[in-house]
Amino acid sequence: MSSFALPFEKPIVEMENKLKELRTFSENQDIDVSLEIERMQKKIKETKADIYSNLTAWQKVQVARHPLRPYTRDYIKEIATGFIELHGDRIHRDDRAIIGGFASIGGRRVMVIGTQKGRDTKSNLECNFGCAHPEGYRKALRLMRMAAKFGIPIITLIDTPGAFPGIESEERHIAEAIAVNLREMFALPVPIIVTIIGEGGSGGALGIGVGDRVLILENAYYSVISPEGCAAILWKDRTYADKAAEALKLTSEDLLEQNLADQIVQEPPGGAHSDPKTMAETLKKALEENLEQLGKTPTDTLIEQRYAKFRGMGVFGEEQKEEIAPADTGNSSPREEDASREMDQAGRHSKDDNTGSPDSPAQKSSD
């Protein structure tokens, strides 16, 4: 199957090696073992399905980072026809970590944009391991605006550990480049379909991640911080990445449940890397369906719904509560209080106690 196997893929690899041996044996000795082979193949398929249906969050992160996993360019090759790559942000340079251009999917014209990882040292150096600089996001925006000009739907494919944390990146304002993309993507008058195909690394992913539909491949992940980064901060030890991955609720299932993703695109048993062709076909079908649906939506509705979709993301409480008076009362947990005093009343209460400086209801709360 592969020259690279994740620890939990070992049983599969062992069986595949055995199968290979069996085949060689059969050929060399001219003995018919087709029955054995068939049984072995079935067992491999079952084991694969079994292992892959029970992956932990951390294992999924590893699958999402699998060096043999199909990348943006692989999908473009399989899914699209007539890809014309367009280069550069017209300001600084051509960032190879984000690629894009014209293409057709199932006869439909699209602008396809995606983060690109490398397969070997040379290609990884070229595309900076899929970590874009500001010019990558600015190129993406240039292409998206052009798509809007020609009324072409936008497809983005995301697979990045994150935007590049480097001196030049900061000097050219990576944060601003991402922020502008976020704002502008809300206003683009064409359908946008976002797919997380591998790693959805924080702001670097979101920078081309605002859309009418957010799809995520079954074993891809999308997170505010890498599990290692989270572990380093909260556990003070990167080796707790497995625990952090669990806690961050970053898998496709978690995100669907939280309404942060619209659709999970099923991967073949054994993951996208075990059968890239099937994976590409499934993704193509999903993209076509969504293009079809969104194509029927009037532009105004599209933009309104896009805003409403992200507008609704977030979980918080807004019950009205007792005024918090730290330290001097026994209220150790204002969250547990169920009191529902009118806010203005609470505000006035605090104002009474307040001396000096502007009288705002907030004045009491921190002194």
Partner: protein, 290 residues
């Protein structure tokens, strides 16, 4: 030889407790020890070296808004532990700790107040509350602030400070970047001004959303401003960081910040900008509604 021989020093132990807590403060830049009442009157700027201390939301409010004009919005919003997040400490415990520490429910205060002749939609982020990290509450309150500004025809001023997104809320926190930026797209279309003030420190998720989307971006002197933290950059690139890297002045030079404004000129600068941006070509200041 004995004359110039090494002298043995004995260390003098200073009892820290001799100085009442909160009454005196040492400037981290010039080591000057100052009375906090004097410091507070000086808007928490070191009189000797102009080092800008971090200020509380109330101090910030007092220095910007006319006394008695501030009406707070969405004060009652509080964070919830949507993911059941447990690391070394649980998110709920962290929240409790910070609520106790600051007396506030979360990291941002929003509302409407008067600056000069303008009513403004104002947000003040408070670094003391969990590093002013952006979770659902911060995102929602900022979004509502912008939406209300559109409804009430108000300019928006946001005093930013943040360590980034609040990882305890997982991807919900990341999506606040999109949400707030989406609201700013609407404000943009309505032609209302937005002034973003970057204070020490403004980083990561907040930087990659509303902090850098101001029509005018102001910064307080010496503030740390950027996307990735300096340590992360150093570890990733193995490069030495340039002098003054990611500080306000560095960003002014590199073209992100419009103006670095000392704290005592801040209010006047914002009012001056609003006077200009909120008036039409005849010089008439746009009438306040509501």
């Amino acid at each position: 030889m004995a004359l110039f021989g090494r002298r043995n020093y004995s260390t003098v132990k200073v009892k820290k407790r001799d100085i009442p807590a909160g009454m005196w403060l040492k400037c981290p830049a010039c080591n000057e020890i100052m009375d906090t009442t004097i410091l507070s009157q000086a808007l928490w700027v070191c009189p000797k070296c102009s080092y800008h201390f971090q200020v509380t939301r109330d101090d910030r409010l007092a220095m910007l808004v006319e006394a008695g004009t501030f009406e707070e919005w969405d004060r009652e919003f509080y964070s919830v532990d949507a993911l059941g997040f447990t690391g070394v400490a649980s998110y709920t415990a962290k929240l409790e700790e910070n609520i106790q520490k600051t007396g506030c429910k979360d990291a941002v205060m929003c509302g409407r107040g008067r600056m000069g002749t303008h009513d403004v939609a104002l947000a003040i982020m408070d670094f003391k509350f969990l590093g002013a990290s952006m979770g659902s509450v911060v995102g929602e309150k900022i979004t509502r602030l912008i939406e209300r500004a559109i409804e009430q025809d108000l300019p928006v001023v946001i005093c930013c400070a943040s360590g980034g997104a609040r990882m305890y809320e997982g991807l919900f926190s990341l999506m606040q970047m999109a949400k707030t930026s989406g609201a700013l797209a609407k404000l943009h279309q309505r032609g209302l001004p937005y002034i973003s003030l970057l204070t020490h420190p403004t980083m990561a998720g907040v930087m990659a959303s509303y902090a850098t989307l101001g029509d005018v971006i102001l910064a307080e002197p010496g503030a740390l401003i950027g996307f990735a933290g300096p340590r992360v950059i150093k570890e990733t690139t193995q490069q030495d960081l340039p002098e003054g890297f990611q500080r306000s002045e560095f960003l002014l030079k590199h073209g992100l910040v419009d103006k670095v404004v000392p704290r005592k000129e801040l209010r006047e600068t914002i009012i001056q900008l609003l006077d200009f941006m909120m008036s039409d070509n005849s010089g008439t200041v746009r009438a306040d509604s509501g």
